[in-house]
């Protein structure tokens, strides 16, 4: 059994004294609260990296775009392929820390809309973000037809 005795702060214990050497009597409580918040809010940080990476899919009138966050990857180590309606992105990163070298491989396959001109797909890599542009087929583009109303 544990007996915990709580003492209420008195005027003496609250007054800043030299005994604390500039440290507040609440310093321990404060760091405890910080720790609680860090534990609770730590969930909001980006998900841990496995062998996948986050992608975004956008479209405008003429193209579909895939943006993938791949920081620190060499351009030569990125392979983008179109297999039927699937876009596959493979990348690897080597990281040097001192004399050690670590390699990470990432791969992801996404299904893209059917109306893509697979032979005209292009990709660019800048600041750790890969953008793949997938042009839409002619017939897929919206056609404007004005109809006369009689």
């Amino acid at each position: 059994m544990h007996i915990i005795r709580y003492t209420y702060p008195t005027a003496r214990s609250l007054a800043p004294t030299t005994a604390f050497q500039g440290r507040s009597p609440w310093a321990g409580l404060e760091s405890e609260i910080d720790r609680l918040f860090a534990n609770a809010l730590g969930e909001f940080s980006e998900p841990a990296a496995g062998n996948t990476f986050p992608v975004d899919l956008y479209e405008d009138k003429t193209n579909t775009y895939v943006r993938a966050e791949l920081p620190g990857v060499n351009r030569d180590a990125i392979h983008v392929e179109m297999v039927e309606d699937n876009l596959s992105i493979q990348a690897s990163r080597t990281q040097k820390t001192g004399d050690r070298e670590e390699a990470f491989a990432f791969s992801r396959t996404l299904s893209v809309p059917e109306n893509v001109q697979a032979d005209k797909v292009s990709a660019s890599y800048e600041n750790g973000v890969l953008t793949v542009t997938l042009p839409k087929r002619e017939e897929a583009k919206p056609k404007k037809v004005s109809i006369a109303v009689n």
């Binding site: 800043p16 507040s24 980006e46 992608v55 956008y58 966050e69 060499n74 001192g98």
Partner: protein, 129 residues
């Protein structure tokens, strides 16, 4: 410093930078130790050198990265996994880091911060007279 602030130091602290940045997200990072330095690797995709702030103050290294890319007006997002929030992270260090010699390098969205260990704390041989 007022009495209240000396009792509750929290009130004397600067407001978190997140207040001006809006919602922020903590970037992925790794920390590695070598005999003479620590290496902090922070992944900041889409951040350029001009949009990155690395500051040290009172034993804390803070990193704020703004995303440069904005979704063009005529683009429609069909599916998203990334966030548009800016990156922000603060790392605290103690006296074993030589603050004057901290170096940072950004390449392809990866920031490498080298925190050399203070020479005063490295083992030293004392000659006996």
């Amino acid at each position: 410093m007022s009495l209240v602030q000396s009792i509750v130091p929290f009130l004397a602290r600067r407001p978190a930078p997140a207040a001006e940045l809006g919602a922020t997200v903590k970037p992925q990072h790794t920390l590695r130790e070598a005999p003479d330095a620590w290496t902090l690797t922070v992944y900041l995709p889409g951040v350029t050198k001009e949009n990155l702030e690395v500051t040290t103050e009172a034993g804390a290294l803070s990193i704020v990265g703004h995303r440069v890319w904005q979704q063009p007006k005529d683009w429609t997002a069909l599916y998203r996994e990334t966030s548009s929030a800016n990156f922000a992270a603060t790392f605290e260090y103690d006296l074993s880091v030589d603050e004057e010699k901290i170096r940072a390098e950004l390449k392809d969205g990866v920031l490498q911060v080298t925190l050399p260990k203070a020479a005063a704390l490295q083992p030293r041989r004392i000659a006996v007279q």
